[in-house]
Amino acid sequence: MIAVQQLTKRYGRHTAVEDVSFHCEPGTVTGFLGPNGAGKSTTMRMICGLTPPTSGTATVDGRPYRQLPNPGRTVGVLLDASAQHVGRTGREALAVAAATMGVGRHRVDEVLDRVGLGPAAARRRVRAYSLGMRQRLGLAHALLGNPRVLVLDEPANGLDPEGIFWMRGLLRDFADRGGTVLLSSHLLREVEAVADRLVVIGGGRIVAQGGKDELLAGVGTVVRARDTEALRAALRRARLAVSDGSEGLLVNADTDTVGEIALTAGVALTELRPAGGGGLEQLFLALTASAPSAAVPATGNTEPTREVVR
């Protein structure tokens, strides 16, 4: 398991990560979500002891990463698929890591097989690898020490749809067998499909965290009526937050509540449904757009939108 407590990282006057706390439990996949520059990678590097935090602590299996005797056997780390010597073959990169961790050479073949890198691909130098192949190699590297915890930064990056589907299955299986997975992404669909829990970060701060279903349920309701203003007034009287969506009013309550209020107020509805059509996407957009973004310049708030659409 991973425990992050009040991690903060400042670079001079710039705060990259501020007061970030969350837990990842065995048997779960935690999606670590946020736009680029939100502080995901910095947080993960702090968890892995590669970046010293300004304040706060992070532990893996109850210990600070740097105090793990042989970290590769406890936690598999993939922080950047491009961080491999391009002059080594895929197999050699794994063999070096296996020798460092003290795991047998047979593990190299096992993980190569597990991530779908065939003998021909394993003999090629990393220079000739596509980003997707590098991600597979990085995942093989993370699995090599047979760890119980995985920390993966944007592992779906560069994978084709079939590869993404495959990795989803692999991570789900890893967690179902009692493993702990922390997986970052700005590709919302990817995380939504595999995560049990979500931690959403924007501008270096956590803007939301909790169970995926719970967070999605909190997204609200889309409601339309012929007499929009009467409906709005009724909802306001019930002290619900109401905003104008593109398809009607967005209400921060479930459909039952909104329907009851409309009935009591005698307003005829033309549409009433959960705003979950876009699921996490709307949550993500709403949260990151309103997040205090010290890290992102004013115009940066629109950046995640484009990534999401893609």
Binding site: R73, A83, Q84, R88
Partner: protein
Amino acid sequence: MTTVHTAPEVTPVHRPSLARLTAVELRKLVDTRAGRWLLVTIGLISAVIVALLLVYAEAPEQTFTVFFSIALLPAGVLLPVLGILSITSEWSQRTALTTFALVPRRERVIAAKLVAVVLAALGSVVTSLAFAAAGTAIAGATGGAGSWRVEGALLAHAVVFQVASVLMGAAFGLLLLNTPLAIVAYLVLPIVWSIVGEVVRPLHRAAEWLDTGRTMEPLLTAEVTAGQWQRLAVSLLVWMVVPLVAGMVRTMRQEVA
């Protein structure tokens, strides 16, 4: 957290020994084309130089001692590059990310790297001995002096020469963490220093003590005086020990991204 209490149930995992880490670092010296070619180049140049001596040197000079002293030179120039690359390639290739994730006690990685390059330096001395032996044998058969006489002191000096060379390179690598910068600094700084030492009269005496080009030269002979040892020690303190210590501090603190 309950996890803390259940921790002892976990199968004991030992931290990698320094011997294992050194073996890994030795492997990393040769498992890329760049590293292999560097070693092959050192060997080839030594072989070519010995061959040239066989063809062009006067017969009385074709002795084991001469062959050996000359065969040391290519390694003396290129071993520092090996030392630099062993450190800086982790940063230029960004493998530091995986290396330090697997071994977060960075001082252990650094120690393993230093031991590995020192072993490589010792290996180069053995190779030079082999080339010298081959040259002497051929010289004996082709009318050269072919004298096998060699003083033990020369061998010891050669070891000091190569080990100091490779460690100076590693020190520059640790300090600068950037391949081209470290190589240029390593090659250019001593030259600049010796020029300055020549030109600026008040620095003349300092140059005698700090120019490694001059202080290390006696190591290629069997005779090194006490004064020469002192100068060597002072110059190595400045060009090897100080950058090594400062470089370790920097590498320990450097954020890996």
